[in-house]
């Protein structure tokens, strides 16, 4: 398995934590679509996620494909490690 620096795990975990909030709020809002507080929280964390994604990708490469992330040179989308390898 490819060795990744400790910071990979730290940044990844921050992203996973924010994404957990976003998944939970998404599901909740699907059945409570007039909860303004929850929508404000959702939009707040959506913004947080953008920042974290950028921070992670600047160090460890693209998280998403098909133009939702930028590539470095050479193309680094298909670089290991894949999620099950860390």
């Amino acid at each position: 398995m490819k060795q990744v620096p400790a910071e990979y795990y730290q940044l990844m975990e921050q992203l996973q934590a924010v994404d957990f909030v976003l998944v939970e709020l998404s599901l909740y809002l699907n059945t409570h679509n007039d909860d303004l507080d929850a929508i404000n929280q959702f939009n707040h964390y959506a913004k947080e996620r953008k920042k974290l994604k950028k921070a992670f990708e600047s160090q460890f490469g693209p998280l998403q494909q098909f133009g939702n992330s930028f590539s470095a040179y050479p193309w680094n989308w298909d670089d290991a490690p894949w999620p099950w390898q860390v």
């Binding site: 996973q16 994404d19 998944v23 699907n30 059945t31 490469g61 998280l63 998403q64 999620p83 099950w84």
Partner: protein
Amino acid sequence: MWLYEKKLQYPVRVSTCNPMLAKFLIEQYGGADGELSAALRYLNQRYSIPDKVIGLLTDIGTEEFAHLEMIATMVYKLTKDATPEQLKAAGLGDHYANHDKALYYHDASGVPWTASYIQAKGDPIADLYEDIAAEEKARATYQWIINLSDDPDLNDGLRFLREREIVHSQRFREAVEILKEEQGKKKIF
């Protein structure tokens, strides 16, 4: 369309190579109440369900694929360093003979996944009740696997997945109420 993200929904760690736990866990990969069944069941039901619950089915169905990847990661990590002898001793000799260490969509007893594990009745209440039952069955399965497991790192991931079943069940129950309310409104007019 769908977008892949190069990350797990929740970190997956295992303490040691343990092919016997992998054998049990594969129940949630290709078993009747596993994550593959869940994802395919919800995403397929979307096309004939009222608009009010399509978003919910889309999001939960999508999350199930993230859970499928977590299970795959667990199985991979539990078996990657195992010798053929260890796999045989864990009851995975039959699996090894056919697949080596490749994952395959079958249950803990080796029965391959089949579409008859999922239903699509076209009746919104029937479909949502099936979904609630599926979540409860998956929650119970996670509990049985946790009871069989002595790996604290693995159990951390399994407890996360068990909790997600509870949340999904709750959201599906709310969806039933939303549909009942809708139906009630129609009767007034």
